[in-house]
């Protein structure tokens, strides 16, 4: 009964999504206020029914209803409860339902926080979102129904893929999808603006907080995925340039360009057609990511759910949604016009360079991801493009981006002066040079790439502090450092925190790359191995039993200078249902280093292959991502976005005069 209710709820959600799309788009085109006013309740109703559908599927998982085909292939009665819940999005059908749930959550958010927007704008935005939702609901109902029954019911389920039985995997897809799908709002605002012909600073201001919020979720989602790969795959790497990782990274790069370009459009009215294009592209790449993962066009560690007919459906959806909006862009963009002019050295020009770099980065990731497919499609053979390509492309692109990140926020709009910037940033430059020269020696060995990474990280961080210092010194109308800082808007603090997060991230990447060490050794009980000043002793492996797996668990005490630092328990698990072996790495996490041990194969009754890693500063990578996301959240919550937008024209004028 419950699955049928879920199916019915999904069908009703489809009807409401269609109503929302038609009422919004046609109502706005015809100027029908009643139609337009009906989009909000339609969108809220759609959210309610999608939530019911999702809840029904979750209940089927919780109560082990193996008459539901999707539950039978992604769960098992021995699976612990929290993984049964996460199992809802452990396969194709459920993850698409999660995608739709996220879309309806965002849509619901728009209905709540759009009171200050003109009705016509709200109707168009909700209309476009309803159209996207209609497409995806059709997709699950016709090609990927999670509620399909299976008769006769199997006695037990095939179990959740053991790779996904992990706390990081419980949170990674919802966060990632919140990010992916969140870009649909920026996209809908862009399409609505193209339809109405009103592409102004107000439009940019409305889309900004939504875009930034989506970007935050995507940042956290990617960081969680990377953290999961780090400890679950047992190789000790944190990013593999896997096609599906790339699929999530491309919208992130485009989204990063978009949030910067929106700043220019809001403050200066410039870059308008470019910003619209970026908003379309960010969502296009999110959809492309969905297509790449779900169609099986590319092989990767993620390709566990593939089916060509689904691929054709998503491709058609991609063609309609993105092709349609790009055609609209061809039609409307020429009339958009240019914004305020600016000098070659100004905050606008620096942000333009940011945009060019991030767009080039997204383009090169796209090229590297699709190049093997292009060769294969033209019959030129099979190749794979891996880390060497991406690293070769990325370092030269990101180094100038980091340099500009130190300069951009200090530059004035319209026209900046080089001597002025140079004098304000001289201490930051000195700090960066000092860090590049001295810090590598403190780590034990000086290397050019390490020095470059630290130079840029220190430069970005120091520039953040210069900006705070200038605010303390220059703020007018308030006395005392604290009072002066308290008038700084949250958006500025958010920007500073996110940029500081980038510096932290770069430190992590640089130091791990420069100083990590690892050893693969065959160990008998009592053997020791030393790495990075730590001694690991292998005390043997004993058998343990988990809820749905059996494992060999090694005990490895780690000492430094004779003192015990930690005891690590890496495991080699066999998940009983799928009979799949899994490596469960053991990690001792620290502020300045991780100690990472994973268990290889048993080479005799007592001896095992053990892989030990010393990873200096690796947690700074995810710490940096978290700071970036926090910064974004802070910026998105700035109070000026919540002010009545009706005051917008004079604010825009004031901003332009500044």
């Amino acid at each position: 009964m419950i699955p049928e209710l879920g199916q019915l709820a999904a069908a009703l959600a489809l009807c409401l999504a269609l109503a929302q799309a038609l009422l919004g788009l046609v109502g706005a085109a015809r100027g029908q206020a009643v139609w337009m006013a009906a989009t909000r309740p339609a969108a809220r109703g759609q959210f309610a029914f999608v939530a019911i559908a999702f809840a029904c599927l979750t209940v089927s998982f919780i109560y082990n209803d193996f008459t539901v085909a999707y539950v039978a292939s992604n769960s098992n009665s021995a699976l612990p409860l929290h993984y049964r819940i996460a199992g809802v999005w452990g396969g194709h059908e459920g993850s698409m339902l999660l995608w739709i749930l996220m879309l309806s959550v965002w849509t619901f958010g728009v209905t709540l926080f759009s009171r200050q927007l003109p009705l016509e704008m709200v109707a168009r935005v909700l209309g476009v979102m309803g159209l996207v939702s209609t497409g995806f609901l059709l997709f699950i109902l016709f090609t990927s129904n999670p509620f399909s029954r299976l008769f006769p019911a199997p006695p037990d389920g095939r179990d959740l893929n053991p790779l996904l039985q992990d706390p990081g995997m419980v949170m990674h897809p919802p966060m990632l999808y919140m990010g992916y799908v969140g870009f649909s709002i920026a996209f809908s605002f862009a399409v609505a603006a193209l339809l109405s012909g009103r592409l102004d600073a107000a439009w940019a201001r409305w889309s900004r907080p939504w875009t930034t919020a989506a970007w935050c979720f995507l940042t956290v989602g990617i960081a969680l995925g990377s953290g999961w790969a780090y400890y679950e795959l047992g190789w000790g790497g944190w990013w593999f340039w896997d096609p599906v990782e790339n699929a999530s990274f491309m919208p992130w790069l485009t989204g990063t360009a978009l949030i910067h370009s929106l700043a220019v459009t809001e403050k200066r009215g410039a870059f308008r057609s470019w910003t619209v294009l970026l908003a379309i592209l960010a969502f296009a790449l999110s959809l492309l990511g969905t297509f790449l993962v779900r169609s099986g066009v590319l092989t990767s560690v993620h390709a566990f759910a593939t089916d060509p007919t689904r691929g054709i459906f998503i491709l058609a959806l991609l063609a309609i949604v993105i092709g349609g909006s790009l055609l609209l862009y061809v039609w409307r963009a020429p009339a958009i016009g240019l914004g305020g002019g600016f000098e070659p050295l100004s905050r606008e020009s620096l942000l333009l360079m940011n945009n060019v770099i991030f767009a080039a980065a997204a383009g090169s990731v796209l090229l590297g991801t699709l190049y093997p497919l292009a060769l294969d499609a033209s019959g030129l053979g099979k190749i794979s493009v891996g880390p060497p390509y991406f690293e070769t492309v990325f370092v030269p692109l990101m180094a100038p981006a980091l340099f500009l990140m130190g300069v951009g926020p200090l530059a004035r709009w319209k026209k900046a002066s080089l001597p002025d910037l140079a004098s304000r940033l001289r201490w930051a430059a000195a700090a960066a040079a000092l860090a590049a020269l001295a810090l590598p020696f403190a780590m034990g060995r000086w290397g050019a790439m390490v020095a470059l990474g630290l130079l840029l990280a220190a430069w970005v961080a120091a520039s953040c502090f210069v900006q705070i210092w200038e605010k303390v010194r220059n703020a007018s109308g308030a006395s005392g450092a604290w009072a002066r800082l308290s008038v700084v808007p949250r958006a500025t603090w958010g920007m500073l925190l996110a940029h500081f997060g980038v510096a932290v991230f770069v430190v992590g990447v640089t130091l791990v790359k420069g100083y990590e060490s690892e050893k693969d050794v065959r160990m008998e009980p009592g053997d020791t191995v030393e790495i990075g000043g730590y001694t690991f002793r292998f005390d043997g492996v004993r058998d343990v039993t988990g809820p749905n797996y059996v494992a060999g668990r090694a005990q490895i005490p780690v000492t430094r200078n004779g003192k015990v630092v930690a005891t690590l328990y890496p495991e080699k698990r066999i998940y009983r249902v799928q009979n799949q072996p899994m490596t469960e790495a053991a990690i001792d996490t620290g502020f300045t280093r991780d100690l990472y041990v994973s268990l290889g194969e048993a080479v005799s009754d007592t001896a095992w292959v053990v892989r030990v890693h010393h990873k200096p500063f690796i947690d700074w990578i995810w710490g940096g991502c978290l700071l970036m996301a926090l910064g974004g959240a802070l910026a998105a919550s700035d109070r000026r976005y919540r002010l009545a937008a009706r005051r917008q024209p004079e604010q825009y004028a004031a901003a332009a005069a500044r």
Binding site: S273, L277, I280, L281, A284, L288, F291, S295, G296, V297, L298, T299, A303, P308, G311, I312, L315, L318, A319, I322, G323, L326, L327, Y329, V330, A333, P334, L370, L373, A374, D376, A377, G381, K382
Partner: protein
């Protein structure tokens, strides 16, 4: 106007690429063995352990070598296709019973029908390693000179037999 049409042009090219890509199988990896002489083996037969069979016995004939096992689920799906192929008489089919127990393999053929002229018995999978077997079933077409001309990883389908395997066999027969 044309400037603004660049994105849509790129997008159309991308769609075409992805559409073509949907028809390709990314798991189909070309074997480095194609165009090379079939690796040598001399193995006992499945039905009569005393007799052996070698790829050299087949010189001068075009033949198909199919790797199978009783524990292999996809082989079950493939089996009717092989029975049809063998019954058509277009090409002799030989089996390599891979990492199996002799009694299991024999029982399987007895129950499901035996498409193979001869099955050879590769208990420890040594020959499988020489042939680069990494997923069962696998199928090889070997020409008159003993050169591997085609390899399929995964089950044969009636379409593959009709559109790829039989035309190739005909061409090789004429050569």
């Amino acid at each position: 106007m044309t400037r603004f049409a660049i994105p849509v042009a790129i997008f159309v090219a991308l769609l075409v690429l992805l559409g073509v890509g949907l028809k390709l199988d990314p798991r189909e990896v070309p074997s480095p063995l194609i165009g090379k002489p079939a690796p040598h083996f001399e193995l006992p037969q499945l039905h009569e352990a005393a007799k052996t069979f070698s790829e050299r016995d087949m010189l001068g004939k075009v033949w198909v070598l199919n790797v199978w096992a009783s524990w292999c689920v996809s082989c079950r799906e493939e089996h009717p296709v092989l029975l049809d192929l063998a019954a058509s008489g277009a090409v002799p089919v030989y089996g390599l019973n891979y990492k199996d127990k002799r009694e299991d393999g024999l029982a399987w053929l007895k129950g499901m029908g035996d498409p193979y002229k001869v099955s050879i018995f590769d208990f420890d999978g040594r020959v499988g390693i020489d042939y680069g077997v990494y997923g069962v079933p696998e199928t090889y077409v070997i020409d008159k000179k003993g050169v591997i001309r085609y390899k399929r990883i995964g089950p044969l389908t009636p379409e593959i037999v009709k559109s790829t395997l039989l035309p190739l066999v005909n061409e090789l027969d004429r050569a």
